[in-house]
Symmetry: C2
Subunit: 205 residues, 2 copies
């Protein structure tokens, strides 16, 4: 692309470094900002700068938070002894939206992935093991995505904590509610038969 302005080129280059945003989209976004009142650009850049410099990581669960302890960890009504292990903060938001979980979370910050150069030491695994070691946790629920990396991460953590004899579980895999059986993939359908639950239990949900 041949830009008429160095400033424009620079802005487009920076915006197009964001994931999933190419040069054309970046140009469209930047031209939009130029057409809007300059206050809009100020609000946007201030919000991003403030977030990047002031946001904290909850020291207990590694969730993103404005305070030392996030609003979930500091809520006295949540069951401290059940910890749900998730990959990142979006998973926390997704599970919170269901309203079905009253325990605490532990955000790993990723999955073990040798291809992307992410090892156990890059994730918040040690602090999870310490929580288990201290005896404050009675059950760990693994809620990572069921990919090779997710399964590897589950297994790695499991090996670290199995000696402490706590309950470990993983979220159920099965056919989505409302889905047609014929369109489900074989692995999911197979697992949903192997992990079938008593019919009476399904009525309660």
């Amino acid at each position: 692309m041949d830009f008429s302005s160095k400033l424009l080129e620079n802005a487009v280059n920076e915006v197009s470094r964001l994931p999933g945003i190419g040069k054309r989209t970046a140009l469209r976004l930047v031209l939009h900002l130029l057409k809007q009142p300059s206050d809009n650009t100020k609000y946007l850049t201030n919000a991003l700068t403030q977030l990047r410099t002031e946001v904290k990581e909850c020291k207990k669960c590694h969730n993103i938070s404005d305070t030392e302890l996030c609003h979930i960890c500091s809520n006295p009504n949540r069951k401290e002894e059940i910890v749900c292990v998730v990959e990142d903060i979006r998973d926390v938001m997704a599970i919170e939206n269901t309203g079905q979980f009253r325990g605490l979370y532990h955000v790993l910050g990723g999955k073990i992935s040798p291809i992307e150069g992410v090892g156990p030491q890059n994730l918040n695994i040690e602090s999870l093991v310490n929580k288990v070691k201290s005896g404050e946790v009675k059950e760990i629920i693994f809620a990572l995505s069921s990919t090779m990396e997710g399964d590897t991460t589950n297994f790695y953590i499991y090996k670290q904590i199995e000696k402490y004899n706590i309950t470990t579980s993983t979220i159920a895999r099965g056919i989505s509610v409302g889905d047609e059986l014929e369109y489900a993939d074989e692995v999911t359908l197979g697992r949903s038969i192997l992990n079938r639950i008593p019919f009476g239990d399904s009525l309660k949900q």
Copy 2:
């Protein structure tokens, strides 16, 4: 969406005000920035702020520029007497990429669109008419998109300048190079037959 942090919520809200970016995409972008070194956020916000505060509009063609006159208008090798009228700077970039045009541009900054509240007074039409009036322009090429709004804008400008007796033309509409005839829409195909060109001319291009 239920955010664990006001700062995060604020940043996501600001990013999702950009066109074509919803809350989910905004969250993904913002979390990406949080994972990257904080310098990346600084580069991005600086580039946007600098662009918004320092960029100029070329006083001759209204193109975006770092200087008073853009690099096209200040190029002595371009033919000043031929002016191509376009909607916005992306069209300038698209035409420049073809390398076929050696005249100057005039960026209107939009199209007349009563539905969106854009009237002639919101566009750079007066300065175009003044250019024609002063006698420095010999030919106007209309290169707006061929929509209702584009055609209206073309016609409005044409009515303003027809008394000055200069050449006016519009870019050719027809079947795209490489396209199959059977998939072309009727209007385009019909126009391409009405506006047929001598076969010898097509060989020169």
